[in-house]
């Protein structure tokens, strides 16, 4: 135990003397919070809609004005003909092209069937679908107005209206959603890179051999590499949270203590992984690639951008061993919904098991002899 204290003293002295570390510890959370949080958004704000009106009737003009009345669509005229529409979509100048055929108003008047043709650029499937849904709902409203005003139908057409409300984030502020997730990425990146690079650097320059020839125990050595970065990780988490508070006015519904407790367990898991990866690498560059590879998978699979429920079963099973997935979920629940210990107890237990497993793995994989 006393040996560990000496090792820790050494690590802290080295960290303190490295100007690069001090800069990274302060700058990385600031940059990540301020740059990433506002940037990451799936919210579709605006769709460029080009309209080709072959009908040129009061009815078609009425429909176009309905569409332009919505803040969602930005309307422009489109050149006639299929080639013109194709070109708009190819060049990306329009997201959706709406073609109003020349028999549209006749159809509405009861002669034949009124149709509309919609061509959507579906490279981005989500925004194409949202745009289409939105377009359809406006057309349907317009249609109902036409039918009612024509007096063809009874005054009341049966219909169910839908009202929606959003709890925990009434304005669907994307920043509230991303910030808890960015905090997870922040401490993952900090913990994994700093701890792993530290151990690999000692390997690369040879100082680790001098340590290996001493009777120091493996767990003492691993602990001396975990503890400093554990503290740095928690410090950066607090810093990131404060930045989030000040810059984005993020709400915090749940218990801060619970939040930090979960982050602490998570950090142990991540640092265990970092040191395990560093036993596989002999140069800092190699470590960087190994770490990048796994972090990328962990983060993408964690449900940071997309709900993990939409993932196939194998992906959800993978997330049982993905620490990032647990904390991602826990952070959002605790910060935004105010979930309590009982709500997240199962995730916490699983995370603890992972943390123990990864630390054990790191200690076992570490070789004092080649």
């Amino acid at each position: 135990m006393r040996k560990l204290l000496f090792l820790l003293k050494k690590e802290f002295r080295q960290i303190r003397r490295n100007p690069f570390m001090a800069r990274a510890i302060i700058a990385v959370p600031l940059l990540q919070m301020l740059i990433l949080v506002p940037a990451i958004t799936f919210e579709v704000k605006r769709i460029d809609l080009a309209v080709t009106d072959y009908d040129r009737s009061p009815a078609s003009r009425e429909l176009i004005s309905k569409l332009s009345g919505s803040s969602f669509f930005r309307i422009s005229g489109a050149p006639a003909g299929q080639a013109g529409a194709d070109q708009l979509l190819l060049s990306g100048d329009a997201d959706i092209v709406l073609i109003i055929p020349d028999d549209f108003s006749e159809g509405l008047a009861g002669i034949g069937k009124p149709t509309l043709q919609v061509l959507a650029d579906a490279v981005n499937a989500t925004s194409a679908q949202l745009g289409w849904n939105y377009l359809v709902s406006i057309v349907r409203d317009y249609n109902r107005d036409v039918i009612i005003s024509s007096g063809l139908a009874p005054a009341a057409i049966p219909g169910i209206s839908v009202s929606s409300r959003y709890w925990y984030n009434p304005d669907l502020n994307y920043k509230y959603y991303m910030l808890p997730g960015i905090l997870v990425i922040l401490i993952t990146a900090i913990g994994l890179l700093m701890a792993g690079l530290n151990l690999v650097r000692e390997k690369e320059i040879g100082t680790i051999e001098q340590i290996n020839v001493t009777p120091v125990k493996k767990w003492e050595l691993i602990a001396s590499k975990v503890i400093p970065f554990f503290i740095i990780g928690l410090f950066d988490l607090a810093l990131g949270l404060i930045v989030g508070w000040i810059a984005f006015d993020i709400p915090f519904e749940g218990s801060i203590l619970l939040f930090f407790a979960c982050a602490a367990i998570f950090l142990v898991a991540v640092l265990g992984l970092a040191l395990f990866f560093s036993t596989m690498a002999s140069t800092q560059q190699q470590f960087l690639f190994i770490a990048f590879f796994f972090v990328m998978i962990f983060i993408l699979m964690s449900g940071i951008f997309t709900p993990s429920e939409s993932m196939p079963v194998w992906a959800q099973q993978f997330n049982y061993v993905n620490p990032v997935a647990y904390l991602m979920r826990i952070n959002r629940m605790v910060m935004l919904k105010g979930s309590g210990f009982q709500d997240i107890a199962r995730d916490m237990v699983a995370l603890t098991v992972l943390a123990l497993a990864f630390i054990t793995l790191a200690i076992r994989a570490y070789r004092k002899r080649a």
Binding site: P114, A125, F289, F292
Partner: protein, 373 residues
């Protein structure tokens, strides 16, 4: 020339002997393609919802059945009271609760209208939006059936949609170009800069500089393997996209490869520029990550469309190469566009490449000049 070829060969061997790095370099795009293709879906399936059915009549049963039958939703709870909604959200099991009012069927029959409310979990805005949109669509669909029954012979507009380029609305169409951009930056800029700086840090660069090889030969020799590696990697990604997803290159393959080579050249000249500007490996790593990796992930529009971001990101991303390159491959690969649609982006990349080449050539000269004095 013979000496130069021998040097290039040595550099190739040097890289291909580090099999761990090679595995990772091909593993990253492979894993990403699989994850984006199969795991990460931006659409919605199997979202848990709860139903609070205060009506318990024919209409509510019919609507519940319709929701259940759709692939989007899975009904996790049938709640007994409004108070049960909050705990269900807090456990994270449901994304939305749908509330049918007590007199749903009755008021629909009597007054011709009724109202259903959706309470969605706003802590996940994207999901909340989709859940609301899909639920609304299902209920509207039911409504219009009713409308049709009443208004037989009424003119009902039938909008028809054609989803261009991606008729099945697969989310990976967005990602394949992004994966290519990311791996290219990783190999070209990050790996070259770190390798060259490493030689500087360990002093082996000096040895090369006093050898009879000309400086430009050293640089070419150093980056040639990475040029080759990047190109092979891109071809592997394209083949994977084709065989795994059936996503072919719709446009001209020659044009795509030419564009890719231009981008690789740009990445390499950025890598050389970074390596001529810094002295320590960790600084090169830091710069490459912060200035190159993050932007290519975020500001290229590959996961997050730039037009949805605050305006400032739009302007900033204009000086970043990935933004233009993603546009180029997306146009060629997925839309099948020809050169006339991408000449502007190509021109920007050419200018950037020349800029960085001239800049690093000058830096290099200055350093050599110092050496001679």
């Amino acid at each position: 020339m013979k000496r130069f070829m021998a040097f290039v060969k040595k550099e190739f061997l040097h890289i291909f002997r580090d099999y761990r790095t090679l595995i990772i370099l091909f593993g990253i795009p492979a894993a990403q393609i699989l994850i984006f293709g199969y795991a990460v879906r931006t659409d919605l399936t199997n979202a848990g919802i709860a139903i609070l059915d205060n009506a318990r009549d024919e209409v509510s049963a019919e609507l519940t059945h319709k929701l259940e039958a759709s692939e989007f939703f899975r009904i996790r709870y049938n709640l007994g009271s409004y108070e049960e909604i909050d705990p269900a959200f807090k456990q994270g099991k449901i994304k939305a609760a749908i509330i049918f009012p007590a007199n749903l069927g009755a008021s629909l029959a009597r007054e011709g209208n009724a109202s259903v409310s959706i309470i969605a979990d706003g802590s996940e805005p994207n999901t909340a939006n989709l859940v609301t949109a899909y639920t609304t669509a299902i209920i509207n669909d039911y409504s219009s059936q009713l409308t049709r029954q009443v208004s037989q012979g009424m003119p009902v507009i039938i909008p028809e949609v054609r989803m261009y380029f991606n008729p099945n609305l697969e989310s990976y169409f967005m990602f394949v170009p992004g994966v290519i951009t990311l791996i290219l930056i990783l190999i070209t800029a990050l790996m070259t800069s770190v390798t060259i700086v490493r030689e500087k840090e360990f002093g082996t660069m000096e040895v090369l500089l006093v050898s009879p090889l000309k400086p430009w030969q050293i640089i070419i020799g150093k980056v040639a393997p990475y040029f080759f590696l990047s190109l092979v990697n891109v071809i592997v990604i394209l083949l994977m996209a084709w065989f795994v997803f059936g996503l072919p290159v719709r446009g001209s393959i020659a044009l795509l490869i030419a564009g890719t080579m231009l981008y690789i050249l740009l990445g390499l000249s950025i890598g050389i520029f970074v390596s001529s500007s810094v002295q320590k490996m960790e600084n090169a790593i830091f710069i490459s990550f912060l200035a190159l990796m993050l932007p290519s992930l975020l500001l290229s529009g590959f996961i997050f469309p730039i037009e949805n971001m605050p305006k400032i990101y739009d302007y900033v991303s204009m000086i970043l190469p990935p933004r233009w390159f993603v546009e180029i491959i997306r146009s060629i690969m997925i839309k099948g566009a020809g050169f006339t649609y991408i000449w502007k982006e190509t021109l920007i990349l050419v200018v950037m490449t020349i800029f960085f080449m001239v800049l690093s050539a000058r830096k290099f000269k200055v350093r050599l000049g110092e050496g001679e004095r």
